[in-house]
Symmetry: D2
Subunit: 272 residues, 4 copies
């Protein structure tokens, strides 16, 4: 159902993660190894933080491998914090507003997974979105609703708590409708300072998620050792290289917070 990567660290041309690695995100759009669907060709998106107050987003509905604009943009744009996503649609239309990342103010949000039986639950989920935030919903995916629920539950104030509340609420609504295995998610979220990765599923059998072993994995992505002056880290749905020693799996029910080059790992549990 999708693959994504996120990066935080020294400014890096985005192609260093999206295009150039042996098993780059673009390569995964054609042939993902650890995914439920091997083809992730129902659109893609890149979001990056630059010098402007809000991050930039480039999303389109083509397979990532055949979009010449994507190749140009990731080659030209450098960023110290970016997220990129390739989509395998699970029932909702292929349109830009359904492509990740979703953006609100300074927040970017990518998701791999799904809300089980989403059409049956959607109305109850959407009703919980703060009415003043409701008009900001542009597309029709479960992912975007999860984002706006998290915003409603206080993403600005306490991101991890808001995401836990969101997950708890989705599971609550699913229970009310008799839907099992409510939530399957890996999330990448940022406000331009913190980069948060979450791996969780109701059934405790979540989509894969990996964290780079900082310098080992990331330095090979930098030309001329420019990464020595600071810690650069990536969170990815699946390793970008066959050097598996460079990537550590993020455990089940776990959140990772990267800020100023420091990594904090915490348990993740849905809450009321």
């Amino acid at each position: 159902m999708c693959r994504w990567i996120a990066y935080s660290g020294q400014p890096l041309y985005i192609d260093q993660l999206v295009l150039k690695p042996e098993h780059s995100l673009i390569e995964q759009s054609r042939d993902a190894r650890k995914a439920v669907h091997t083809t992730n060709a129902d659109g893609f998106g890149v979001g990056w933080y630059g010098d402007r107050p809000t991050p930039g987003v480039y999303r389109d509905i083509h397979p990532a491998w055949n979009d010449p604009n994507l190749h140009d943009l990731v080659e030209q744009i450098q960023s110290r914090l970016f997220l990129a996503h390739i989509r395998a649609a699970t029932g909702t239309p292929v349109q830009k507003t359904n492509c990740h990342p979703f953006r609100h103010g300074r927040w970017l949000f990518v998701h791999n997974g799904l809300i089980n039986e989403f059409p049956a639950l959607k109305r109850d989920l959407v009703m919980k979105v703060a009415p003043e935030r409701y008009p900001n919903i542009e597309g029709s995916t479960d992912s975007e609703i999860m984002f706006h629920l998290a915003l409603t539950f206080g993403l600005d104030d306490d991101p991890l708590r808001a995401i836990e509340k969101m997950a708890g609420f989705v599971e609550h609504v699913a229970r009310e409708h008799g839907v099992a295995d409510a939530l399957q998610m890996t999330l990448g979220i940022s406000d331009g300072h913190r980069l948060i990765g979450v791996r969780y599923s109701t059934e405790r059998s979540s989509r894969s998620l990996f964290l780079s072993r900082d310098t080992e994995a990331m330095c090979e992505l930098h030309p001329q050792g420019q990464c020595s002056s600071g810690r650069s880290l990536a969170i990815v749905s699946e390793p970008l290289s066959s050097l598996t020693a460079c990537w550590q799996e993020i455990p089940e029910s776990t959140a990772v917070v990267i800020e100023s080059g420091e990594v904090r790992t915490v348990d993740f549990a849905p809450s009321d």
Copy 2:
């Protein structure tokens, strides 16, 4: 704000109305005469009734004038009842799910106009859509919500009554939010038997809508007088030719129902 045409009568190649007339719908996508926006280039759609249980729909996000597929399809497809629409977006994204006609079962629905301050009213409007119908909403336009409200209010049982209830409800919600001039609409609606045209606006200054003066106007669209064997009629946002005598304006607050070649004209008034 869009332009549309609808046709009911002898089977006709769709290009006879969409492509070939002097002031065809495709010509209007570039240069509408009676429209608020002269350019209607934010997508288009055609819906037609054939031999299958549900009508076909072809919608895309390009300007109608530069889509080669549209030219081919309207040249190849004959239909006894079809609607076509060109869009000028008023704030919602340009994506297929926001293009008209909208379809549900045998129903097709096109709209020109808008709900005033739609973002402010949208949540209350959507909440009124029958919960079991809610998951069928695919896009983000005011038009599609109007369609699903009409379905909720009984479009299958009493179409005109359901449309009047929809208009009444929109005006009710607008009043609650202190929004003036709630609704501006011309509508084209069909279930494959009846073709309904409605012209209405809260401020009683509605977008233009015209009915062909049957044989006079329509026969010139048929090759070799094949229209003699029955009555063919069209409803259009603006006349397809400069032969203005061939087109009669549909009055304010009026609905026109075409069925089996007969035209019925009735007053239209929003209701509770």
Copy 3:
């Protein structure tokens, strides 16, 4: 590098071959079994003969599996002779003018395969296209050049001879440039009466091509035995079902001509 199907026989809704079979063409866009690339998602096209003087063509650049228009059109359109194609690009841009079928007058043309080292040979190949036909070239693929070469060599007068000359000329130009294994092709070509399938490659190791064992294979695609009143046949890159007994492989260096329900099989050899 692509997959295609072609049909000739009793009028058939196109979805009976493109959408409904167990291993339909749309299914092959995601997961082809006998193809060099398992994903054929760089655009698609359908061409069909109806009542108009020239065939209709619908081509777009999305993966076939996620285009809602394609689903609607193949469900609505019936035809006695049609071709459909899904593309895996081999170096040329993903744009409508590079999607198959190519059309000229009454001719439709689909191709699976490639001209080896096409960029190096292209200029010499294009120069051979009749100057008055040159402006008709719209895209940038090897396939379209092969089509216009065949037209130049007399497709209207003697189709098989013209295709053999085209293949011979491509191999001649390749030899002049020292390019081995010049041509790899399966072709589907029609003028609305004859349907021609060709399987050939310079190295005599051609992409797969199958012919339906008429009634056995095709009747299961027809509702209520309506196929009994005539012979319906299909040529396909790979079988549409696991009933392999229903499909016979077309041998290497062979052309198949279907006309009025009769099948003629002839050797295919490039010529000067």
Copy 4:
């Protein structure tokens, strides 16, 4: 037939010319004032020089006004030299490879105008492109052929001379075919150092082209007077504001070369 802008000077967010002015390029896509077509909605493109060896290009086939990616990119990307173009197609397909700017190595090229009766002349024009450059032609426009002819005639060595030779050759071929008024063009060309604007037509009645009166016109586009430290200049198809005193018309048959903030104006005459 198209509108374009080009900028050279202090690094500037591209939106300062493309999106923000009263009569910005995006505004011109909907409503050009001095154009043959008031709607320029058949695609667009932006090319910019950054830190990488080759410039970036973003081109798409939608109307510029409704592409959310374009808005984001011009808001995020700063450049000291960029070109942007909106297209009104004159007979060739709407596809990315037909959108401007065209790029080759460090060169970018935009064109407004046309080669008269291009289909009749195309083959002879293309034949003159250096054979080793021929495979680089990706699309089907007259503009791209003009670019590759200029490259063939020595754009790298003596740009103005190469452009004059290109214009002379086009007129020569037109004369041979008995085509009058061969060439209509304004051109914007850059190698990342020089920015060249050309205004010329065979009939000496060329599309409009304007040069900013440096500081007067451009400073108003810079926030907080940051333009004081150097000269910034723009060449535009039509003024971006109603302050007409800020823009001077480039005369007929004239080329303007901007390099290191200096403007050089020279006569332009097609040559053999």
